[in-house]
Point group: C2
Chain length 152, copies 2
């Protein structure tokens, strides 16, 4: 019994394993599948089986979410990572660079806001017309969409 039918070299994993490895809830993974973010095949008993590499796909989703991307955006970004292929280093580099510039943008926005707030601290006007902090020009939300908001 050295060459077991694919049990020792376990390529296909059930949903619970994915959940455990990623920290996601099972229901969340099913939801991602519905949304088309990951794919599965079914056993004869209709249970999902995922590729081990989907752990990486999920990791990617989690990371991207941390950066404030919504699932739709992630979906777009993921379109380039073929289902069932482990993302190569090159894939990952391309995407991380794109994420990096996302973060950069957010940091800049926040920094600008902070500077304005500093100007404002001495002022106290709170005038929508004059306040540097609140002008229509660059309303662009320091906040992004997010999964569940953990902040404390």
């Amino acid at each position: 019994m050295l060459a077991k039918p694919a049990k020792g070299r376990n390529d296909l994993v059930p949903i619970g394993v994915l959940a455990q490895r990623t920290g996601l809830a099972v229901s969340a993974i099913r939801y991602y599948e519905d949304r088309g973010l990951i794919a599965s095949i079914r056993t004869s008993g209709n249970q999902r089986r995922f590729l081990r590499s989907d752990i990486r796909r999920l990791s990617f989703i989690l990371i991207a979410q941390r950066l404030g991307l919504g699932l739709a955006e992630i979906e777009r970004e993921m379109a380039s990572l073929p289902h069932g292929r482990t993302p190569t280093v090159l894939d990952w580099q391309r995407i991380s660079r794109s994420l990096r510039s996302e973060i950069d943008g957010r940091i800049q926005l926040l920094t600008r806001t902070r500077n304005k707030l500093d100007e404002c601290i001495g002022c106290g006007c709170l005038s929508l017309d004059r306040c540097a902090l609140y002008n229509k020009e660059d309303r662009a939300g320091a906040a992004g969409p997010g999964p569940r908001f953990v902040l404390d």
Copy 2:
């Protein structure tokens, strides 16, 4: 009839004026009133009348939202601004400093994340166990809650 009932020195304004001055939708202002963020009195005909100073309260809400605070948090912060009193410069300073540290935190978090991402770009591992980007330690969401998400 020199002393008109408070018409010339228009202290009380209808909801539409608030909306126009703040850029908020009328429905949003009513919603805030329901939530207890601002208060109004009614005319004999059951229409809301707000204090002019509520423009400032609303401004404050808008600014705080931009910084990623949720209405509940804002409510808390506002508890110190008595209804119907124009926030003093001191009120505002205290609060803005508190907001400032909020922003600081967010910037730091993002910056840390960016650094980790940089480390990761050369790595490409995407391993949840090893990846600096994704560890349970400081899961704390680069994203915050937000009103409507405007990003582009």
